[in-house]
């Protein structure tokens, strides 16, 4: 186990005494050299979880451990410097996550520069190596981000994270902004880097099919809480939590015959507001199998056979 969180919470104070429960007690483990896929609708807190984990947000409460070591609740500059050698992040938007005033050399070389101990020419060689490694032309390192396409920019973002040679990378929707044909390029690249560098990845996305394909285990979040965790294929093909079942049923397949056969009843309603959440199951107001207990008692993750966990009173 490389990464572990224990009841991790991240709340935002949004004024007038209101609290937004973005991440509300997530306990999760990620094994070494594993890809853990984290899925959920927008507003479910998956990105906030990723950021709180690696110290981009201070934690409200709960703990996070990396390689057995407890991570500080609030990262100091020194902590960032220390942990960024181990943990990196790839961001969703390849446009706003690259500084338009910096050249690719500056962007990708910034990390090693800050970490020190390397001369400029060493950094330059390293940047060239990594650009080639992610499938870009090293001669383009003096260009600016606007001269690249979306897929190429995402590769710059990947090179920026990988040049540090981290052990753990949080990929926050790394392919959502890309076209289908380019998505596969980026996925294969991440997979290849995982194999060759022994990386551990937290892969955040909302595309269920892609997450099932990419990850070893899948975790489903709903409104700041964990609904279900387990091996990807099991969670996708035999979802247990009523929310996961809806999510899988809503996910269209690129197969017309299958779509024609689909007994289609879209889930009613929308994700509720994470502001001032009360006790009880977060999904209770949309759940077709809701019981009295669900409205008052927050379900904990219950272990099921086959390395699966589900947070639902139905399994108690």
């Amino acid at each position: 186990m490389l990464v572990r969180t224990e009841k991790l919470k991240k709340h935002f104070m949004i004024g007038r005494g209101q609290t937004l429960h973005a991440v509300d007690g997530i306990s999760l483990t990620i094994d070494e050299n594993e890809i853990l896929g984290l899925v959920g609708e927008s507003g479910s807190g998956k990105s906030t979880f990723g950021k709180a984990l690696i110290g981009l947000h201070p934690k409200t409460s709960g703990e996070a451990y990396y390689d057995g070591e407890r991570l500080p609740d609030r990262f100091s500059t020194k902590d960032h410097l220390h942990y960024s050698k181990q943990m990196q992040m790839i961001f969703q938007d390849p446009y706003s996550s690259l500084n338009p005033r910096m050249t690719v050399l500056d962007i990708v070389g910034e990390g090693p520069g800050i970490q020190g101990q390397q001369s400029n020419s060493e950094i330059r060689d390293k940047v060239a190596f990594w650009l080639e490694r992610v499938g870009l032309n090293a001669d383009h390192m003096s260009r600016y981000p606007h001269e690249f396409s979306g897929g190429q920019r995402q590769r710059i973002g990947i090179a920026r994270a990988m040049i540090i040679e981290p052990r753990f990378v949080v990929c926050d929707e790394p392919i959502s902004a890309l076209d289908v044909s380019v998505q596969a390029q980026v996925i294969n690249l991440l997979d290849e880097l995982k194999q060759s560098m022994g990386l551990t990845l937290l892969f955040i996305a909302h595309d269920l099919s892609m997450v099932r394909y990419v990850s070893d285990r899948m975790a489903v979040m709903y409104l700041g809480s964990m609904a279900e965790v387990g091996p990807s294929n099991d969670v996708f093909f035999e979802p247990q939590h009523p929310y996961t079942q809806f999510l899988v049923e809503s996910n269209p397949e690129p197969d017309p015959n299958l779509e024609r056969r689909r007994a289609f009843k879209p889930i009613v309603g929308e994700i509720t507001s994470p502001v001032n959440v009360q006790a009880g199951c977060r999904f209770a107001d949309r759940c077709p199998k809701v019981m009295d207990r669900c409205l008052v008692e927050t379900p904990d993750l219950i272990a099921l056979p086959g390395d699966r966990q589900v947070a639902c009173h139905l399994f108690d």
Binding site: V180, F246, L247, P252, P256, P266
Partner: protein
């Protein structure tokens, strides 16, 4: 078949500082009553520009429709003077967009915006129009419609806004609804709701839908017929089954292999399409896909392939379907053998 809209050899260009971009290069398709035509393609392939030019939504200049015709119910709708265009836009053809937040007026209530359509096109009074607007919101299953009609766009969620947009586009009972990436910005559960709503309205109103999307799964769910676009051209068209089960253009095949499938071969690795689409400042002389195509031949770079009929409903623009060309299935098998 009852053809409502017929587009022939549409060409659209944009003048930019860098030169002229040939965004749409000879696109033809027909839409019949009550069917859904999906236009699929990657960003920059010209799918949105195609429908925007039909609606007269291309700013001219810099845009220019340089060729082709589009006939709606027997009348050419391209290059109409603005007054003429306003008469059919929103009446015979309704349109919804990817980002409903920026397509609705933030300073008007939802009800007033829908009512405006009815006042302009149907000459309804303020009160009548607002009442009808509430009914339209109810038809798109917006809960508490009378209350919601008095709210502003910022008070709606993304899914609800898309419902409101659909309500507005239905105001004049259009024969065709153009939906430009209607669910791209939405979560899968909300996407499922909106797609279901569109299917339901199509059944009750006997409306045709032109669905612009990049998502093949949405196409599989919604479409009767599909046109696949690449580099400003339709490179393959046919029924949804033709496109998915008898894919004939290497680009369509490539797209299918680049996405994970949850049905069969579920752990087959993804094969990305290498490279990127051609620069439409200088469109290639031959096939637009030639530089990325694993089956490219010499002729592909030199001559633009013509559309070849594969069956009565199915066409592909690829030299591999010329009668003297090698068989793509055989090429595929050979490749698999090599890989194995």
């Amino acid at each position: 078949m009852d053809t409502i809209l017929s587009v022939k050899d549409l060409e659209v260009e944009f003048a930019t500082y860098g030169g002229t971009v040939k965004a749409v290069r000879g696109v033809s398709f027909d839409v019949t009553r009550g069917e859904t035509l999906a236009i699929v393609g990657e960003s920059g392939c010209g799918k949105s520009v195609t429908v925007q030019s039909l609606m007269g939504l291309i700013p001219m200049p810099p845009g220019k429709i340089t060729g082709g015709t589009a006939t709606l119910n027997g009348k050419n709708i391209l290059n109409l003077p603005p007054a003429e265009a306003n008469k059919f836009r929103g009446v015979e053809v309704g349109m919804i967009f990817q980002d409903p937040m920026s397509s609705l007026n933030p300073t008007m209530t939802i009800g007033d915006q829908i009512a405006e359509t009815l006042k302009v096109h149907r000459g309804k009074s303020d009160q009548e129009a607002f009442k009808l607007a509430v009914e339209l919101l109810e038809r798109t299953h917006i809960p508490e419609a009378p209350k919601r009609a008095k709210q502003y766009p910022f008070e709606f969620s993304g899914g609800m806004l898309q419902r409101a947009m659909i309500a507005q586009s239905l105001a004049c009972n259009p024969a065709i609804l153009i939906a430009d990436e209607p669910t791209t910005a939405l979560d899968v559960t909300i996407q499922a709701q909106i797609l279901e709503l569109m299917l339901e309205l199509q059944r009750t109103e006997n409306m045709s839908i032109i669905l612009i999307t990049h998502d093949l799964a949405v196409v599989a769910r919604m479409a009767d017929r599909v046109a696949v676009m690449y580099a400003g051209q339709v490179i393959e068209s046919g029924t949804v089954d033709d496109i998915f089960y008898r894919s004939s253009h290497p680009y369509t095949l490539g797209l299918k292999e680049a996405m994970p499938s949850n049905t069969h071969d579920r752990d087959k690795s993804l094969s990305p399409i290498l490279g990127s689409p051609p620069d439409l400042f200088k469109p290639p002389v031959g096939c637009g896909y030639c530089a990325r195509c694993p089956y490219a031949m010499t002729i592909c770079a030199e001559h633009l392939p013509t559309a070849t009929a594969i069956s009565e409903s199915h066409e592909a623009r690829c030299w591999l379907h010329h009668r003297t060309a090698p068989d793509i299935e055989e090429l595929h098998q050979l490749e698999d053998q090599d890989a194995g």
